[in-house]
């Protein structure tokens, strides 16, 4: 998995045993409230410039989450993050964006 190109994700501070973490995209101004597992997934993916394979992601999550939680919730959480255009499969091909031009020439 990898971050959707163009996203510049930031998180709110780790507030008082919150069950939701505010996640912000500095480029679009959009924000989401994500569960702790989704927050950890985003942080791990964010630390890998070229994305991370699923087994490695599950392995890293297992260090901070109960394995049953990861087994049951990983797939729906990833789907949700993809649906919200935060993550995408790392092997997706996204064409490089051209620089903005003032004219159509």
């Amino acid at each position: 998995m990898a971050l959707v190109p163009g996203r510049a994700i930031k998180f709110a501070p780790p507030w008082d045993c919150a069950d939701a973490i505010v996640t912000f995209d500095a480029n679009s101004g959009d924000y989401w409230l994500v569960a702790v597992l989704a927050y950890d997934i985003l942080r791990i993916v964010q630390s890998h410039d070229n994305g991370i394979q699923m087994p490695a992601l599950a392995e890293q999550l297992a260090t901070t989450h109960v394995s049953e939680v990861v087994a049951n919730a990983l797939s729906p959480t990833l789907h949700s993050l993809v649906d919200n255009q935060l993550l995408q499969p790392a092997d997706w091909y996204t064409p490089a964006l051209l620089p903005m031009n003032d004219s159509d020439d």
Binding site: A8, K10, A12, P13, W15, D16, A18, D19, A20, I21, V22, F24, A26, G29, Y31, L33
Partner: protein, 287 residues
């Protein structure tokens, strides 16, 4: 033609209008506000002008111009003074001035502020008027919370308190309340304004740090109670009430997070102004 150069903290505002009602409104509500020097930088150059063409005579209208540009449909001429207040709200909320602007009342005591984000019908303005007129809180604003991202401080903007419908009857009976003219049949129903307390106008350079964020909910007959809510939930609710968070981008996000980090967040439900005041007292009692 009336012309006023006022420092309505933290902005310099120039107001020009031929309407006597605007002159009277300024004289009544902005009497204690400092005047700017003629060569001061003006943040908002406002004109409240009559309608064009036959609308000068037939069902006369009033127009609001900011920097010479008309941004709204005209209103009936008798609403010239409310149009000044509504238009000025729009100026503060929509102009990129480097502040994070949210729809909330803010009041302070000893430099610590309570912020009351406003949802329609929540009773924000009545509660705000009660706190400043009955409990002597410093009014920073009844409508526009202006946060300076650089300092994390809330800036006073102590303009008249907007009152509508049932709140008029409640607030006019407060000791020391000075209400202006009542306007009926406006888009917001029957409205009026209460003058900011003189002490709040005098203290308009005194900023405050938000210590409590309280989301009020007025319900007829409700049993008064308050509950703590998470900062993430408060973030979500305040974001709905922010005028320019998107435009403020990362700076706005960081400012809002810092604001929430330093505050306790609550939701209150109450059925009378007295109950609402007591809940605010309970929440803001010094530790």
């Amino acid at each position: 033609m009336t012309e006023a150069l006022l420092h309505i903290a933290p902005f310099n505002v120039r107001i020009r209008s031929p309407f006597p009602a605007v002159r009277q409104h300024i004289a009544f509500f902005y009497l204690g506000f400092p005047h700017c020097q003629p060569d001061s930088f003006i943040d908002f150059d406002i004109q409240i002008l009559p309608g064009k063409g036959f609308r000068r005579w037939w069902r006369p209208q009033v127009r609001f111009l900011l920097d010479g540009v008309e941004s709204f449909y005209p209103l009936p001429a008798e609403q010239s003074a409310p149009m000044l207040e509504w238009g000025l709200n729009w100026c503060v909320a929509s102009r990129p001035l480097g502040y994070l602007v949210m729809h909330a009342a803010v009041l302070a005591r000893d430099g610590l502020a309570v912020m009351l984000p406003g949802f329609p019908g929540a009773g924000k303005s009545t509660l705000c008027a009660s706190l400043c007129l009955q409990e002597n809180w410093q009014l920073l604003s009844d409508e526009l919370a202006i946060l300076n991202p650089a300092s994390g401080a809330m800036l006073p903007h102590p303009r008249p308190i907007s009152l509508k419908n049932a709140s008029l009857d409640v607030v006019k009976n407060f000791p020391g309340a000075r209400l202006g003219r009542v306007y009926t049949d406006t888009r917001k129903g029957t409205i009026s304004h209460a003058a900011s307390p003189e002490a709040s106008v005098s203290a308009a350079s005194r900023t405050s740090l938000v210590r409590w964020i309280v989301f009020p909910r007025f319900e007829v007959g409700a049993v008064a109670h308050h509950e703590a809510i998470s900062r993430a939930e408060a973030f979500n609710l305040i974001s709905e009430q922010s005028f320019n968070k998107e435009r403020m981008g990362e700076v706005g996000f960081d400012a809002l997070c810092a604001l929430l980090s330093g505050a306790q967040c609550f939701q209150i439900t109450y059925g009378s102004t007295a109950d609402g005041l007591q809940l605010i007292r309970d929440i803001t009692v010094p530790a």
